[in-house]
Amino acid sequence: MTQGIVRDDEFKTFEIEPGITFRYLPVSKWKTLSIDVFCKVPITRERVTALALIPRLARRGTVNLPTLRDLSRSLEQMYGASMNTDARKIGPVQVLRFGMDLPSPEFLDPAAFGTLDGVNLGKALSFVWDVVTRPYLENDAYPLDRFEVEREEHRRDILAIINNRPHYATVRLVEELSKGDPRGLPAWGILEDLDTLDPRKTWDIWRETLSRCSVSIYAVGEGAEECGEILTRSKLFFPEPRVSDRLWDIHEELEAPPLPPGILRSTEELPGEQTILCMAFYTGVTEKDPRLPALLFFDGILGGFPHSKLFRTVREREGLAYFADTVPNTWRGLVLAIAGLDGKKISSAEALILEQVDSMKRGEITREEIENTRAGLLRRYRSESDSQEALIRRFLTQEVLGGPASEEEIISGILKVTKDDIVEVSQKAELKAVYVLDARKGDG
């Protein structure tokens, strides 16, 4: 199995067994220890929806702690540790996360507790590993009542995406751009497929996935090193044996799905107060492209910061919107612009956003815009070393998509970018889609 090149400027890494990596950072500046298990799975229509249910089913109970209440009590006994499970997506890979944040025992006051019982890293690790691999089952399947509740809640979760309109707009835009291609499927799966699942089938899919997926375990904070010692000493349990030559290679197919020709236009009506405009610009610059730092500047100058063109024109000069931002999608080489507006102002806002991109193509980028963006990007990346979550996210993304992970590499890339580099990326930017979530119609 091919592993991405692992650069260990920050994290120390070792392979526990084929396809299972442990990465740790024993730094004691934080008050909590963060432990995360990530299972990385190539996304397919057959698996995606079942696997999206796993983070929910996993929280319901394990062999040793069979109920939700048992799990919750156990976390409380570990001084208010929190458990977080979710399904996310990095490129075309579905990533299931099972994590725990544990207050570091050495900062607790023994006088407040009598004795500091129950703070034991071995116990915390077993807890997390049980959540991943030893769910509470009945007759080799998830209990039917639990399964039904979780499936229903998951259905509601998917439907509730619409409650956050800007987020919903970007989800719909990406969905329109990916039609029919499994690589474009969302991490939460497909609504209609929920009904095709049953408790046994879902467990079978998860059991097989566990035997074939690539696993990364991260530990960051005081005690991280000890976690590694415990993991190497113990044999990790899997419900089905893992065989090296059957493991999935997540790097085999990393290409993003092709975009449809022309400019896709789509409008959806949803009664409300504010219309959302979302535009997708394709640059073709992706994670491994040497022009990636220049793409970050393109995004930053266009809409990534409060000193950006969109903030200054759409919001501050014209007073059209409260938010007008951009976000890069470095897997697909896209930059998405998004703004919340009065429905009557949609076409003027669209023209204004296009005009900002065009001005960048013409090289109308000031020294100040470039330097402010450089300072902003340097701050963003350098300060990641203060956040356990940001560090893990960066290295995990690199594990899947490749590209730079070490701070030094990223920083030197940002330092080198010139105006010409940014203009070059700007000139590649091509409008591919416009999506409008229209609040006006249906008002009656």
């Binding site: 509730a160 100040e368 340097l378």
Partner: protein, 432 residues
Amino acid sequence: MDADYVLKQDHLREEIHVANFDGMPVFVMPKGGFRRKYAEIIINYGSNDNAFILPDENTRVEVPPGIAHFLEHKMFEKQWGDAFSAFAEIGASANAYTGNNHTSYVFWTLDNFDKALKILFEVVFEPYFTEQTVEKEQGIIAQEIRMYDDQPSARLLRETLQALYWHHPVRLDIAGTEESIRKITKELLYLCHTNFYRPSNASLFVAGDFDPREIFDVVADLVSNFTLPRGAAPKRLRPEEPEGVRGDAEVFLPVPTPLVQVGWKDVPAKGSGEALVRQEIATSVLLDVIFGKSSPFFTRVYEKGLVDDINYSYEAWPDYAFALLGAESPEPERLCDLVHEEIQRLLSEGIGRPDFERIKKAALGRYVSLFDAFDLIGETQAHLYQVGLDVFSYGEILKGLSMEEVSSRLKALDPNHSVRVIVKNPNAKKAR
């Protein structure tokens, strides 16, 4: 210069150095090993302060709702340009927030901390408003108001506070309404700024890997270079608020699943600031015992498919206090009934000691984790300082919390002082 005094907690290995400048307390928390440097100026002035008496003139003033938030937006625009860009030029990132009782201005940076702090002082203490910029801001804030109007959870909170309170300004939207912000003028903005943005009504919190003495030197320098108004802030006026609630409410939005919130109107503890903080801590722990994930109640409603998650919170201020419990639920009415039934059950049976001990233990652990979040520590410290406490005494109160104290807070969850607010889909109504 040295601190006036140093607050410490040995087990946490944290210190906060405190000094006072022109009536403004400055808190410095050294955070070794962190690269980020953080600063926050907190003004004790928020969306609730719409009526007040001017200190010199004894005049009663009423200003349009939403003005504190409007002022916060406008403080970033200077005669010399836009302060966001000034922060950006030196590699800092800035933001601001308006709450019911406070307005906060923050930045974080890796380098140029002194320069960024100077810009922050300019942002907060050197107003610059013109008719034109005020008018433009009305358009931006109108869009902000509409954005929140479209967020079911934001609407739920506002409607719940409106259902709980008859007159108290906490019932109003922090941003005001499109109508109320149209009444805001540059003169009114100057009036509010002059009266509330003064050192005696503010605090500064700083965290990062540095020597507190150096920070105090920088602040001393800034304070001597800015013309800062002296004297106390105006006395705030609050309308008479009846003890009872207004009543239940329903809101129609295109939500896939209904959202529900139960609100309880409580009476804030009188006497000392400590009594108020104890009330807040004890009630929060009680809510955890009753509705937390380890409670029998949660298991019951979760297994019935009535909720996926329950959010609850409690706030106590000198002039108001309330508890909230919210969830997304296909059967909101039934959930509310079960909530009240559970409280009735506990009133007769009492809460279990093992549950209380376990929840308290978890709360103490989470208190430790709080120290990784500079912003939360800053706000907590500023808030507690006002009532004569500090962020470490919060831990001490939590440590000494008794089960009797927590049980006695059940009275805060009296159904007679509660409301239920439901956000539902108008189409679902038609279908029925």
